[in-house]
């Protein structure tokens, strides 16, 4: 009846980890929503700036009539202005930075808040790898969802703004390949940032001794 000396904790199958992660998101519904909204806004902002600037630089693709109308309104000169172009690239840079920092901060905060919980999880027998897996699944989910919605919102807003300025030709101004490229890069950047922002603190907390993690005062 002697118990065995030391056995190894078995890794949980991925499907179980996914279920636990889904449960974690569900019980934190409002907090998750807030974080995801942050990601949506960041990406919407980024996409909006990127697309509206790309539209502005593709103004020469418009038909002659539209260009004449713009010229008469005075808009064309403004769009072609070199100083304005420099300013907008700074704006794009700023948008990138705001998104980066915004997402990283949101994820870092939401995981750091749970340091005590991570310490407790380790007391209950969670492997370090499980802790990291759980946060990875959560952040992939939030990242993909938030980024996708944000990109959609940003695209929509930019195109609607475009229509008010350039009329119905807006839809053809940017070649599809470019749109795909912009969407792809934004999606990648948004999702990777979300994951990085969550994984770094999760990894740190998982590696701590449980006492230290549980001592966190957040």
């Amino acid at each position: 009846m002697r118990e065995q000396g030391a056995e190894r904790q078995v890794q949980l199958p991925m499907i179980k980890a996914v279920k636990i992660a889904a449960k974690n998101i569900k019980v934190r519904w409002w907090r998750s929503l807030l974080v995801t909204s942050g990601i949506i806004l960041a990406l919407a902002f980024l996409m909006f700036i990127l697309v509206s600037e790309t539209l502005a630089s593709n103004v020469m693709r418009l038909s002659k009539e539209t260009l004449d109308t713009l010229s008469k309104r005075g808009t064309l000169g403004m769009l072609q202005d070199a100083d304005r172009k420099t300013q907008t690239w700074w704006l794009v840079g700023l948008a990138l930075l705001v998104s980066f920092v915004g997402i990283l901060n949101a994820m870092l905060m939401s995981v750091t808040e749970r340091f005590r919980e991570i310490g407790t999880m380790k007391c209950l027998g969670a492997l370090d790898s499980l802790v990291i897996k759980l946060f990875l699944i959560e952040s992939v989910f939030q990242g993909c969802l938030g980024t996708s919605l944000g990109i959609a919102v940003g695209l929509a807003l930019a195109y609607f703004e475009g229509v008010t300025i350039y009329g119905h030709e807006t839809w053809g101004m940017i070649p599809p390949a470019t749109v795909v490229r912009l969407v792809g890069i934004s999606f990648l950047a948004g999702t990777l940032l979300t994951i990085a922002g969550a994984l770094y603190p999760a990894w740190r907390a998982a590696k701590m001794q449980p006492v230290d993690a549980m001592r966190s005062e957040v």
């Binding site: 000396g5 030391a6 056995e7 904790q9 492997l127």
Partner: protein, 257 residues
């Protein structure tokens, strides 16, 4: 001498084994450059099935000792053996198994997941142990019933009193039928009456389930249920007492010398 049955011999053998042993354990913290010797080469052991209380004032090292024997922290020097296995020699997988299956923890601050229901909280270690959702749910409900919270399965910690939260924590600690229950100041955040209830619950578990209970506390209410008391001072065991050496009077405890 009367003959002993094989079972009696085995029982005696089990009682004679030490389920926890700390040997010359040192733990030093550094406050800036100043070393703080929380544990100064302490020796401590607990036999299977015992109810041992580690008592001492704040700063005596009892929580540090608790963390050592629970595998929650590593000593700077010395060894800690759980079931004669040196925990420093364990891989993180083996340590995780230990925490999952052999030890149940109870903390002063309950450490429940505040946003999850009582049932979810108790189920968590079972899921980590690989139980199915259905089995875990059933067992968790049973445990919560046992601690008197059968009607609050779906309540969240925020909807519960301190005593109820601690009872959820006790149920969670018992999730995977551990051999040892470790409680750090279990009554620290509770009023006297609720504290009594929790101590009574621990005593019951010790007696009926034969689970070894080790508590670190400065609550003198724990004295009457403990088999043995280790008084800690300045990181070392000041003295050990067995239950029969104590004379507990209303309001204070004194020692029969």
């Amino acid at each position: 001498m009367a003959e002993q049955t094989a079972q009696e011999i085995e029982n005696q053998e089990l009682l004679a084994t030490h389920i926890v042993r700390a040997v010359k354990v040192r733990r030093t913290y550094y406050l800036g450059d100043e070393p703080l010797h929380a544990l100064a080469g302490i020796d401590f052991s607990v036999r299977r099935g015992e109810y041992v209380s580690i008592m001492g004032p704040s700063g005596s090292g009892k929580t540090t000792l608790f963390n050592m024997i629970g595998g929650l922290d590593k000593p700077n020097e010395g060894q800690v053996f759980i079931d004669e296995v040196n925990i420093a020699a364990l891989s993180s997988y083996e340590l995780a198994w230990l925490r999952c299956h052999k030890i149940g923890y109870i903390f002063q601050t309950f450490n429940l997941i505040p946003v999850a229901s009582a049932l979810d909280n108790v189920m968590t270690p079972m899921l980590f142990a690989g139980m199915t959702q259905a089995d875990a749910q059933e067992k968790a409900a049973g445990l919560l019933d046992k601690v008197g919270l059968g009607d609050r399965l779906f309540h969240k910690p925020v909807q519960m009193s301190g005593g109820q939260q601690q009872r959820v924590a006790v149920a969670r600690a018992l999730a995977n039928d551990p051999a040892i229950l470790l409680a750090d100041e279990p009554t620290g955040n509770l009023d006297i009456k609720t504290g009594h209830r929790i101590i009574e619950l621990l005593r019951e578990i010790n007696e009926t389930e034969r689970v070894t209970v080790v508590t670190a506390t400065h609550d003198h209410k724990m004295l009457s249920v403990s088999d043995r008391i280790a008084w800690i001072r300045d990181g070392l065991v000041d003295r050990m007492q067995n239950r029969d050496e104590l004379e507990i009077e209303e309001g204070r405890a004194s020692v029969i010398d």
